[in-house]
Structures are given as C-alpha cells and as structure tokens.
C-alpha cells in the first residue's frame, strides 16, 4: 500500500500525543493518589464515592451525638446518685421518727435538717447540663423547673417530654428524663394503695407495713369499687369493712368480710394485707385509698410538718410510717431512672463501637473505589513512559529514510 509521507509523519505525531495524554493521566493518578479525579474517570464509582462519603459523614455525626448523649446521661446519673444519698439520709431520720419517742428539741433539730435536705434536693433536681439547660425540665425552656414556694411546697414548671438523641438512622434514644417522672409522679403508699389511720382515732392503733398479697383479687376489688375502703373497729377489736360507696365489702361467698383484730395481727381482704399494731378504740378507722401520686418534696414536707406539728407519739409513728413508704417509692423511682440510664449508656457504647467498626469498613471501601492502586499506577507509568520513548526513537529512525538521501 502507498503511504503518504505527510500522513506517515502525522500518524507518528498522533501516536506520541495520545501516549503523552495517557502518561499525563497516570501521572495525575500517582501524584493525587486518586483513581477518580473527575466523575467521568469512573461514573458508577463517582456515584458510589458520594454515597460512601455520605454514610461516613452520617456515622461521624451519630458518633458526636452519642458523645453528647453520654455526657448528658453521665451528668444526670451523678445528680441522681446524689439524690439517692440525700434520700437515704432522710430515710435514716424517718426510722428515728417511727420510733415515736422524740423530745421536742430532737423533733425541731430533725425538722431543721430535713428542711436543708429538701432544699438540697430542689437544687439537685435543678441541675443543668453543659449548655445551661435544666436536666430535669423535660422539653421546657425553663432553667429552674423546680420552684420552692413560700410555704415550702415545690412545684414543677417543666413538662413530661424527655429529650431524645438520634444515634442512628431511625434509631433514637432518651438522653434525659423529665423531672416529672423522676421526682413528681411517684406512686403514693406502697405503690398500689395508701392505708392510714383515721384522723379522729383515739386509740393507739398504728398501721405498719402493708402490701398487695393477691394481685388479681386486688385488681378485681379495685375495678369494682375503685379500691377505696374504710375499716371500722368496735370496742372488742372486731372490724368490718365498707367500700367507697358505704356498702359492706363482701367475700367470695357473698358474706361481709370482717374479723377480730388482736394486737400485732394482720387484716386481709380483697388481696390486701395490712399489718397493724397498738390497740384501736371503739369507732377507730383505717382507711385505704388506691392510686394517687406523692412527689418526693411533699414527702419531706410532710415529715417536716409532722415534726413541727406537736402530735402524739402514735400520730408521729403513723405519719412516719406513711412517709417511709413514700420515701421508699421515691428511692425506687430514682433508682429506676438510674438503671434506665445505665441501660442507655450501655446501648450508646455498643452503638459507638459499631460506628468505629463501620467507619473502618467504609473508609476501606472508599479507598478501594476512589484511591489509585499505587503499584498498578506506578508500573503503568513506567510502561507508558517506555512506550513513548520507543515511539520517539522509531520516529527519529524513520525520518532519516528518504530516497533523496541517495540521489546525488
């Protein structure tokens, strides 16, 4: 085939130009360390890079959220530990109070201590996080959710919404507890009912420990009458029980419940067991009230009022017995919150380690997609450089070949 001299030169030049372009591209890969410098280098890979970087960014954000939540929960946990310590001190005072034989000066000292402890609890309940937000205000903007009123009662200005933190796509965890659930909505009495002596009692009857001994019987009794009962004693210690509507409480066979109380015995009906001590006078009553809540501050305030109230030893013992129950409910509420926090922090640390693992996985996936393989790139570079050199040498040789060189 004939070859045009001009075209032959042009072809050699074209070959060298394309080899140079390939060489420059490889050089760019080696110097940037990236296989994908513009999207057209690998369209599908470029799309994948966007998605992988998005996942990595999301994981980084979730890790930061987890750290925030951890800080908040740790702060909350340490305040709750302090609250438990204060409540335990209060409890040991309540034990003294139940003994009932306290001199007026002892009563007044105890009252003063309890006032201090109540104020300390208010302060702990108003703990703020690093941003100055109250930990136990729910989602309210108030920085002092627990306000002590002039009469010593404490009112809650926050709300019931606990803060959530996103720690994964579609995965949210409570990073706080509303103050209402920890301090305010504490079930009254033993958690199911409050049993207390009537206000007009003249005997020495004291209501001690009481509990639900048969859950299903209690529930059906509560459903039928609302759980409110009044037990009335006669002079001989025999007792009868009426429900909230004033009708006698009936047993399983339709006979009215009742019996004779002897010192230190229990009274049981409708699934309740109430331990009594002391001696009732004729007409003395014990009332049972179901449900209801009593906040922790009221419990302290009630104890203070008892100590300041000049009541009889029986009244003091009865009163402290009730507040002891309430205190135990309060401690249970705080401890429930602490256990929940422990569980959440556990979840957080597990999730955090998952993200550390995922980060490694996705980083290596990202490197696979967009990073240049240094060995391949460098070997390509030397191969392409050699090829270009060969083309240049060939050109130099071929250009010397001309018939004109021999026609003299």
């Amino acid at each position: 085939m004939r070859v045009s001299t001009n075209w032959m030169f042009q072809q050699s030049v074209n070959t060298m130009l394309s080899q140079q372009a390939a060489l420059a591209a490889t050089q760019n890969q080696v110097s940037s360390g990236l296989r994908i410098n513009v999207a057209s280098d690998d369209p599908a890979g470029a799309g994948m890079v966007v998605n992988l970087k998005h996942i990595l960014a999301a994981n980084t954000q979730y890790s930061a959220n987890i750290n925030d939540a951890n800080t908040r929960l740790s702060t909350e946990q340490s305040s709750l530990t302090s609250v438990t310590n204060v409540l335990n001190s209060v409890r040991s005072m309540a034990v003294q109070g139940i003994n009932g034989t306290l001199a007026p000066s002892d009563r007044s000292d105890m009252a003063t201590q309890l006032v201090q402890m109540r104020d300390q609890l208010v302060q702990l309940a108003n703990t703020t996080d690093s941003n100055g937000d109250a930990l136990f205000a729910g989602s309210s903007t108030t920085r002092v959710p627990f306000v002590k009123n002039a009469d010593g009662t404490v009112s809650y200005g926050g709300n019931d919404t606990a803060r959530m933190t996103a720690i994964g796509s579609g995965l949210q965890i409570y990073s706080g507890d509303a103050g209402s659930s920890v301090f305010m909505n504490v079930p009254a009495g033993n958690g199911s009912f409050v049993a207390g002596v009537g206000a007009g009692n003249t005997g020495t009857l004291v209501v001690g420990a009481n509990s639900v001994s048969d859950t299903s019987a209690w529930a059906s009794g509560e459903a039928a009458s609302g759980g409110g009962y009044t037990i009335t004693f006669a002079a001989d210690g025999s007792w009868t029980a009426d429900d909230a509507s004033g009708n006698p409480v009936l047993d399983g066979v339709g006979a009215p419940v009742g019996g004779t109380y002897q010192g230190g015995g229990d009274i049981s009906f409708n699934g309740m067991t109430i331990t009594l001590s002391g001696t009732p006078a004729a007409g003395d009553t014990v009332s049972v009230q179901a449900g209801g809540t009593q906040d922790i501050f009221s419990t302290l305030n009630n104890m203070i009022a008892l100590l300041q109230g000049n009541g009889s030893d029986t009244q003091l013992t009865n009163g402290f017995s009730r507040q002891m129950e309430a205190l135990d409910q309060g401690l249970a509420s705080v401890s429930k919150a602490e256990v929940a926090i422990g569980g959440r922090m556990n979840t957080l640390s597990q999730q955090q380690s998952t993200y550390s693992d995922l980060n490694v996985t996705y980083q290596s996936a990202l490197a696979d997609v967009q990073g240049a393989d240094a060995y391949t790139a460098i070997s390509n570079l030397s191969l392409q450089a050699t090829a270009l050199q060969a083309s240049q040498q060939t050109f130099a040789q071929v250009k010397q070949l001309s018939l004109f060189n021999y026609i003299r």
């Binding site: 004939r2 599908a44 799309g47 966007v50 960014a57 941003n131 933190t165």
Partner: protein, 626 residues
C-alpha cells in the same frame, strides 16, 4: 529528419510536464487537501510511410488528480463524526471539571443535616442555631456556584452555536463561489481545474467538521451540499445560509433556523454544531434541571419540616430557604392576552422536564419539551395541575398560543437562605398532647403529628372528650365536632393527627395544644436531621443526597461515553484519511523516483534531438563533400 526532431521535442515537452508535476507534488506534499497529480501521456499517432506506420512521439493528455469520490466522502463523513465527538468530549470534560471543582455538594448537604442534629443536642443553644444557618448558607453557595457554572456553560454553548452558524454560512458562500468558477473554467478552457477542485473539497471537509453534510457532484461539475436530513445548503452557484436566532420561548437560548425561517434545531446532527445542539438538549438541560430539582427538594423538605415545628419564640417555623418560582415563557407568536403563572404544589411529583402548555381554542394541554403528553387535572378553583405543578391562567388565550414552563432550571443558581434569626429554627414539635389527670381509662397520647402545617387553627387548643369508648367529640374555639373512635386509628382535626395508646374510658379527655411550654424540645430538629436519608423526590423514593449521587454518575457517564466515542471516531477518521491519503497523498520516495525517471527521459529526448542534429549535419557534410 524534421520528424525525429519533433519526436524529440514532444518527449522533451512531456518530460518537462512530468518534472513540473513532480515538482508541484513535492512542494505541495504538506499542503492540506492537496491531491497527488499524475501526468497522463499517450503515444502520438504516427504517419504512414508505405505500408509502415512510424510513431510520431508523445502527447501529454492530462494532468489528473489521484482522486476517489468514495474515499473523499468517507473522510468527510468521518470528519463530521470526529468533530462532533471532539466538541462533545470537550463540553462534557468542562462539565466534569465544573462538577468536581465547584465545591462538594455532598459534604455541604451532610454538614447542613448534621447541624440540625447538633441543634437537636442543645435546642436552646444560640451558637448551634447560628451554625445551622451558616451551614445552610454554605450549602446554598455550593448550589449557586454549580447552578451558575451550568448557566455559564449554557451561554457559552449559545454563543458557540451563533459562531459556528456564521462559519458555516461563510463556507457555504465560498463553496457556491467555487462552483461558479469551476463551472466557468470547465466551459471556457475545457480542462479540469485541479486546484479549484482541491479547494472546494477542502471547504466541504471543513464544513463537515461544523455540520454533518452530504455532497453530490453534478454533471456540470458543480457540487450540491445538503445537511444530513436533506436541507439544501448549496446548489450550483446559489448558497442557502442558515441563521441563528432566539428560541420561540426563551430569548436567552439560541436556535438554528433555515433560510425560510423554520426552526431546524432538532434536525441538525454531526459536526461541532450537531455536538453543541445535542449536548445542550441531552446533557446540559437535564443536568441543570436535575440540580435545580435537588435544590427544590432540599428547600421543600426542610421548609415544610420547619412549618411543622415551633421556633424559639413559640411561632410556627418560617422557611429557611427561598427558591425561585417556576419560569413561564410565552411564545413570541402568542396572539392572546393570557398570562400563565406556575407554582410548585408537590416537590415529590416534580420531574426534571420542561413543559409546553398549549391552548387549542377550547382546552389547555401539556406536553414535555420532548413532546410527551402529560394529563392535566382541572382544580375546583379553575387552576390546572400536573406533575407536581399548578398553573393559573389569567386573561384570554387564542388558539395556538403556547407557554414554556421551566420548573427547575434556575432553582440551583437562585436558592438562598431567607432566615437570618437563629431563634427561627423550629427545633420543637408544634403541638403537645396530654391526657387529663382525672381520666379513669388507660388511654394515653402516643403521638401527635402535624398533617397540614397550613391549617389556620393548627396551634389553637382543642380537647378530645370521649362520650363513649368508641366515640369522641373535639371541642375548640370554633365549636364541637364528633367522630367515632377505633382503637389504633388516629384522630384528626385542625391539621393535626393524634394516635392514642391504651383504651380511653367514657368521660376521659385529652388536650392538644401548641407546645409553648416545650420550646426546648428537639423532636422537630431530629426529624429535620433525618431528612438526610428521607426520600423526597420521585414520589418520595430519592433523597437529596442520592439525587446528587445520581447526578454525579450521570455527568460522569456523559463524559466517559464522550471520551469513548471520541476514541472510536478518531480511529474511524484516521482509517478513512489513511485510505484517502494512500491514494491522493504525496509519497516523497515515489516522487524522487519519478524525478529521476523524468530527468532521464528529458536527457534521452535531448539526446534524440542531438541525434537528429548529427544526422542532419552528416547529411550536409556528405552533400558538401560530394
């Protein structure tokens, strides 16, 4: 004797023609478009002497171009293909660099969504809220830069179209001129004007680089040139120039029209003009629209989430982003007085298409600019809806009037942050629900959600009271409505929806009211942060980040395909040129051989003349001696 002298002279002349031709070939060996010239010579008829015929020397019959119409046409068509691929590749190359150098949209999006997460961590923190608005600003800056770069490329393409059309017209005129001169030369001299033919072939080749053409040589030697769809450009000495002018709707867009004013933009292909038009409609427009669509999706989803929450001032959240309304362009030929306004009704139904809304005298119809029909629904207020858009027509349209709608085109370039007050970020839920303390049933509020943020009574307090376990009444400032309750089913009113857990008893009540005592709430900010992975586009299946990933892949694919096509087309062009050059190109070794050959012929012919002279001298000497 005179005969031998003449024979010698004819040989001398033929060798001279040969030498001149070789010289021309050598000197033009690097001339673009030059065709190798070859001397055709024939033995001159001899004279009869008795029963013998004695040869009479040589005649040069022609100096012909080494030429093949077939091979040359192949070069033209492959040149149109290669120039198209070159232009397309350079345009997509620019687009790819623009995308990689105009900021990292994915990073900006993630920063923005992450900022919502940070606000959720401390809803009352002003610095965090300020940082959120800052990242919103960075995000719109990336969108703006990308959108503006694409706008710049649109303008460059438009001006290149005008420039290319001007070049095409100049070449078309020159070809018509050459046709005239070739025709005259042939009829006046009768010879073949090789140089003019080479010039004309060169012009057609240049023209094919601008636009795909077919050329036909007529019997009178003139050449007719047509576009690949048969539009005449040159016929004999007449040129039919094309024109670049504004698009029927969009005055910022350059289209191509034929000599009688018809829009032939869609009918041109090949060459750099074909590449420009094809790139604009198949790559740049869709990419610009998709980027705008992503910007609208971002703004739509974030703004609507804002409206579902309360800001730090207790107000319903205002929009963070502002976006332009869809562009509506009336055709310059419209006769009626109607004006059309378009608004975006549903971002999730929005597509990346542009539309043409036409009136046939009785009804409106909607088509995509690609010609696909889109069903229109008429709303009760007379407005029209389709594809997530609502059109409102005011005034009277005439039959044949039409309007182009570009819903997404400029959204990326014009998206902006409208919020300046960091307290305006709506991190808190708009509503809170609460069971009344005296309730006897186990019912509690499981969730309160906003279904219609535009409801005027949304934030007004309302009480749901159960008149029986299976029926309720809702009381608000405007009165009482009743409804029946099925466990697990939501209760809705005033733009909200409440889900209850447990079983409410007769007489139980629940209140739903503005969450004004919960402004430190973060639930709305958490939902806004989760928009990062929430489907917004295509009916709610594609998130903004995914849309950007798809866009990246699409831009990359366009660039990658263009590069592959360029490689293929260059190989085809090289193949065609190589074949054509193997016939028409000058080989210097061949010319060197021919040079020696003609040189020797010349010397030999001169020797014939010398011989003739010697013979003649011998004769004279013989006569003198005698």
């Amino acid at each position: 004797m005179a005969n031998l002298l003449n024979i010698g002279i004819s040989g001398l002349a033929a060798a001279q023609v040969g030498l001149n031709t070789v010289g021309t070939n050598i000197s033009n060996s690097n001339t673009d478009g030059y065709s190798l010239q070859v001397v055709q010579q024939a033995a001159r008829l001899g004279t009869g002497v008795g029963h013998l015929t004695i040869g009479g020397g040589v005649d040069v019959t022609a100096v012909q171009r080494a030429y093949s119409q077939f091979l040359t046409s192949a070069v033209w068509s492959s040149n149109a293909g290669m120039q198209r691929a070159t232009t397309f590749n350079s345009l997509t190359g620019t687009l790819n660099s623009t995308l990689s150098s105009s900021g990292n949209l994915q990073g900006a999006l993630d920063d923005f969504y992450g900022a919502f997460s940070t606000v959720a961590g401390a809803p009352g923190s002003n610095p965090d809220r300020q940082a959120l608005l800052g990242s919103a600003g960075s995000l719109t800056a990336v969108f703006n830069t990308l959108g503006q770069q694409l706008g710049v490329q649109q303008r460059q393409v438009n001006s290149q179209i005008s420039g290319t059309v001007a070049s095409i017209n100049s070449i078309v005129g020159n070809i018509a001129d050459l046709n005239q001169r070739i025709y005259q030369s042939r009829s006046a001299v009768g010879g073949v004007p090789n140089t003019l033919l080479d010039q004309r072939d060169g012009l057609v080749k240049t023209l094919s680089g601008y636009l795909g053409v077919t050329a036909v040589t007529e019997s009178d030697g003139t050449m007719s040139v047509y576009t690949s769809t048969g539009q005449g450009l040159v016929s004999g000495s007449n040129a039919y120039p094309i024109a670049s002018a504004n698009n029927l709707y969009d005055t910022g867009r350059t289209d191509v029209f034929d000599v009688s004013g018809n829009d032939i933009t869609g009918r041109l292909s090949g060459g750099s003009l074909g590449a420009l038009l094809d790139y604009r409609s198949s790559v740049l427009d869709p990419i610009q629209n998709q980027l705008g669509q992503a910007a609208l999706a971002l703004a739509g989803s974030v703004n609507s989430q804002q409206a579902k929450g309360l800001d730090l001032n207790g107000q319903q959240g205002a929009p963070i982003f502002s976006v332009p309304t869809p562009v509506v362009l009336g055709a310059t030929t419209n006769q009626g007085s109607a004006t059309v306004a378009a608004t975006i009704a549903d971002v999730s139904q929005l597509t990346a298409s542009d539309y043409v809304l036409g009136y046939d005298g009785s009804a409106w119809s909607l088509k995509t600019t690609a010609g696909q029909s889109v069903p229109l629904t008429t709303n009760t207020d007379g407005s029209l809806s389709a594809a997530g858009l609502t059109f409102t027509v005011t005034g009277t349209a005439q039959a044949g009037d039409s309007y182009q709608i570009q819903p997404t085109r400029y959204a990326a370039a014009d998206i902006a942050v409208g919020m300046t007050d960091p307290a305006g970020v709506a991190a808190a839920a708009a509503l809170t629900g609460k069971a009344t303390g005296t309730n006897t049933g186990t019912g509690s509020i499981a969730a309160v959600s906003v279904t219609d943020a535009g409801n005027a009574n949304l934030l007004g307090a309302a009480t749901i009271t159960f008149t029986a376990p299976g029926s309720y009444e809702i009381t608000d400032s405007s009165g009482t409505v009743t409804g029946s309750y099925t466990a697990g089913q939501p209760i809705s009113a005033n733009g909200w929806s409440v889900t209850l857990a447990g079983a409410p008893a007769t007489g139980d009540s629940f209140t739903v009211a503005a969450n004004t005592n919960g402004l430190n709430d973060n639930s709305n900010a958490l939902t806004a942060a989760s928009l990062a992975d929430t489907g917004v586009l295509a009916g709610g299946s594609i998130s903004v980040v995914t849309a950007y990933a798809n866009l990246t892949t699409q831009v990359g694919t366009a660039g990658n395909q263009a590069a592959t096509t360029l490689t293929t087309q260059t190989a085809l062009y090289n193949q065609a040129t190589s074949s054509q050059q193997s016939l028409s190109g000058v080989n210097l070794d061949e010319e060197a051989a021919k040079l020696v050959n003609y040189q020797q012929s010349y010397q030999a012919s001169a020797q014939v003349i010398a011989a003739s002279q010697t013979i003649f001298a011998s004769l004279i000497t013989a006569i003198q001696a005698a």
